[in-house]
């Protein structure tokens, strides 16, 4: 079920109504599980069974890990959980890719290998919920988290519909306590909190959802046709056109994914749950590491906690640190999809992080140099960082190898063929206008970081007006052809 569909609007209103009617906490949880499974079934049919299997596996294994004192047994149990989750992910996401590579390699060495592809359907959200269950089991294994006593609560953590299909990736330690939050009633007696729709949450939640829809339906979906047009066959295009396509794709993917995250966070907030921030103005990042603190935060922090640190992080030799960074980002790239272009994207970011670390280590004074502290220095840092970030979007978007190399070449080695650029701008004035508007709005939000707080506190009349303006933007610029969220594919 797409967030940007009438079905979701009907679904969400019905869920809120049902929650308001059902006052009993446990039944509210059961209702949320049921509607989350329905939400998943709506998109992926019988593949819902995988989600349930993953939930059962990790609930009982985590319990066993917690109860056993034997370290070896703990390790075996953790390995079973990892094998189960990664096996599921690997089989559905990477089996065909592996077979394909095996066949290519076999043919290269004249072995005549032609294993038929399995043509598996990728279960929606599998990359997200398997990472959630892995983090739960690992946290229990590390002793950082007490396993959930209630299967109902754990099932809700895994399947919670606002973030089920494309994140943000939840951590059990953040979510489960919210289900067992105690509140004092008017008699001073504390009891477990039932799900209530709080006015502040409702107001912020609706605002966040509205902004999310605006990012997705107004910006991303309306810029997408230009991106598709440019990268359908980029060979022969000028550097100017490749640059425009790359920047447009950067905006499209940001609008698409951060829009989805905003809708998810807003929907969860209306239901009374806090989901961590997933984006924090990433296109104002001043370094590669800063970018990864602002882009897809739930994934980058997951990779840091469950991959980078276990590999040794930066606690070992400098060379090992660089290798760890590169490895983590390469796997992070592969997490996005079974394709070499994602590997290249990951490797590029791994390279950026490693090089940034090398430069930071060799020249520690750079960080505190007055130039980089000044406004101008900051702008330069942002521009350099974004130049490389956007360069990496090319392999992310362009899957054909020849097209990708051509586009990268044109991006890096600017050809100054500007004769057709004015015609290009005229022919694409609508998406180009949206790109300009995006940067202006993005800059305003950057300058006023507490915008959401202001909207939350503003008078209801003004809030309604803001909401109306956003809705008008969405409704009047809806292109009648809702696109899937890009991250649904991952």
């Amino acid at each position: 079920m797409l967030f940007n569909s009438y079905e979701f609007v009907i679904f969400f209103v019905l869920v809120l109504t049902a929650l308001a009617i059902i006052r009993q906490r446990q039944f509210q949880h059961l209702l949320l599980i049921a509607v989350s499974y329905f939400f998943f079934y709506f998109s992926s049919n019988y593949l819902l069974s995988l989600l349930i299997a993953s939930t059962i596996l990790d609930f009982y294994i985590a319990k066993e890990i917690w109860n056993t004192k034997n370290i070896k047994r703990k390790k075996i149990l953790l390995s079973i959980s990892l094998a189960g989750n990664l096996g599921l992910l690997g089989f559905f996401k990477y089996a065909d890719f592996a077979i394909d590579q095996f066949n290519i390699l076999g043919n290269h060495f004249d072995l005549g290998t032609s294993i038929p592809l399995l043509d598996l359907v990728l279960p929606i959200g599998i990359s997200f919920y398997t990472f959630q269950t892995i983090s739960y089991t690992v946290d229990v294994y590390r002793g950082h988290l007490e396993p959930s006593k209630s299967f109902r609560e754990f099932a809700l953590f895994v399947a919670f519909f606002p973030q089920l299909v494309a994140g943000p990736i939840l951590r059990a330690k953040d979510f489960l306590p919210q289900l067992r939050e105690k509140i004092n009633n008017s008699n001073g007696i504390s009891k477990l909190r039932q799900i209530t729709i709080h006015p502040t949450n409702l107001k912020i939640g609706i605002t966040l959802m509205a902004f999310g829809f605006l990012k997705k339906m107004f910006f991303a979906d309306n810029i997408a046709p230009m991106v598709n047009e440019i990268f359908a066959s980029p060979i022969g295009l000028s550097s100017f056109e490749i640059w425009m396509g790359t920047i447009a794709f950067g905006i499209q993917i940001y609008g698409d994914f951060s829009g989805y995250s905003d809708i998810a966070i807003g929907a969860a907030l209306i239901l009374g749950f806090k989901i961590p921030l997933n984006f924090n103005k990433p296109y104002f990042a001043t370094s590669p590491s800063d970018f990864w603190r602002k882009w897809h935060i739930s994934l980058s922090s997951w990779l840091r906690d469950y991959l980078y640190i276990p590999l040794g992080g930066n606690k070992k030799s400098p060379n090992r640190t660089y290798l760890n960074l590169a490895t983590v980002m390469l796997l992070g790239g592969l997490w996005h999809g079974a394709s070499w272009n994602f590997v290249i994207w990951g490797m590029l970011h791994g390279g950026y992080l490693a090089i940034h670390k090398v430069v930071s280590d060799k020249f520690p004074g750079l960080k505190i140099h007055p130039f980089f502290k000044s406004k101008f220095g900051k702008i330069i840092s942002i521009l350099i960082t974004q130049y490389f970030v956007f360069l990496a979007w090319i392999p992310f978007r362009v899957h054909d190898t020849a097209d990708m190399w051509y586009s990268i070449q044109k991006y890096v080695l600017f050809d100054f063929q500007m004769s057709e650029s004015f015609t290009f701008l005229l022919e694409h004035k609508w998406p180009v206008g949206l790109m300009v508007l995006f940067f202006v709005l993005h800059f305003i939000i950057y300058l006023r970081p507490n915008l959401m707080e202001r909207i939350k506190n503003c008078d209801l009349k003004w809030w309604t007006l803001i909401l109306t303006v956003i809705l008008l933007g969405i409704v009047f610029f809806y292109n009648g052809n809702p696109e899937d969220f890009i991250y649904f594919r991952f």
């Binding site: 006015p199 409702l202 209801l460």
Partner: protein, 318 residues
């Protein structure tokens, strides 16, 4: 407090969707020029012997001056009119049918292609597949609501506003082919695109060839049969021809879609005894394409107009 917030949301919804409703129903009509009435009520046209060409922009790209000259050279006593209309399909054409019949043409040449019958297969199947919960939910929402594209209207309004201020450089459609009352072309339609350009354009074609799906029960097909039937009832000869498509377009078409069109052609040939001419693949590999499904409007592409003229001459032979 929640009630107040919900009221705010409702107000925002009512205002925005209300404005959209008003815009679609009032503004859109105000931009529609009733350019057809003038033609259909022209008594000179009504009284002359005539042949009509019907179809979408695919037919609009015909060089009518060339066709008219070819016909005149044979001293035939009739005039050819090209009633091509942008985005035409049998459902739209059906609205003009009465006026077309009133013109009493001798022959109607109807150019069709896959896009004329584009109707997502899901929407035709959803009524019969009630077991699928997704279809059941989908049925709650009115089809009209699902298919609206307000952005086109908004952009049109903005364009018109900017035209008034002179800021917007209005695209000019100054090429008005002879005897083609409902269609005009711009300079851009005279250009020939190379193979790379055609590949790139595949993604901006509406509907994209890869997504065209229809079966013989869809509404467009039914209207098409009805048009043929009604014209024949009035003793107007109907000739159907498939419009040419580029190789890039044809390669993207699903096999099932090709079979569906073949079945329609077979059906009209057998059931209605309609003569059929197939141009679909005739020029697929020639360098005459403006875009993937439109031949460029220029002298290099005259072959299409030439063969259409030949078709007309053949069908009008006593």
């Amino acid at each position: 407090m929640n009630l107040k917030i919900v009221s705010g949301v409702c107000i925002a919804f009512v205002i925005s969707f209300g404005m959209l409703y008003v815009a679609i129903n009032l503004l859109d009509n105000s931009y529609r020029i009733d350019y057809k009435t003038e033609f259909f009520s022209d008594q000179d046209i009504v009284n002359e012997n005539k042949i009509l060409l019907l179809g979408s922009s695919h037919i609009g790209h015909l060089n009518m001056s060339h066709i008219i000259t070819q016909i005149e050279n044979k001293n035939l006593d009739f005039t050819v009119y090209n009633l091509a209309d942008n985005g035409d399909s049998p459902k739209f054409r059906y609205n003009d049918l009465e006026q077309i019949i009133n013109l009493e043409p001798k022959i109607v040449f109807y150019g069709i292609s896959y896009r004329d019958f584009d109707q997502p297969i899901e929407s035709t199947n959803s009524k019969t597949n009630n077991l699928d919960i997704r279809n059941s939910v989908g049925e709650i929402i009115p089809e009209e609501l699902k298919s609206i594209n307000p952005q086109l209207l908004t952009r049109k309004v903005i364009r018109n506003m900017l035209d008034d201020t002179g800021i917007n450089k209005k695209p000019t459609y100054e090429i008005k082919p002879a005897n083609t009352p409902f269609f005009a072309l711009g300079d851009i339609q005279t250009k020939i695109s190379d193979k790379n350009e055609l590949q790139r354009q595949l993604l901006i074609v509406l509907p994209p060839p890869a997504k065209i799906q229809f079966d013989s029960n869809n509404e467009e097909v039914e209207k098409f049969y009805e048009i043929i039937n009604l014209l024949q009832d009035k003793e107007i000869t109907v000739v159907v021809f498939t419009t040419p498509l580029s190789r890039a377009y044809l390669d993207e078409l699903p096999k099932s879609t090709k079979i569906s069109l073949d079945n329609i052609l077979k059906n009209i040939s057998e059931k209605y005894d309609v003569e059929i001419y197939e141009f679909e693949e005739k020029y697929a590999d020639l360098g005459i394409w403006n875009n993937v499904d439109h031949i460029a409007y220029n002298n290099e592409s005259i072959i299409f107009s030439d063969e259409i003229a030949e078709m007309i001459l053949k069908e009008t032979r006593p």
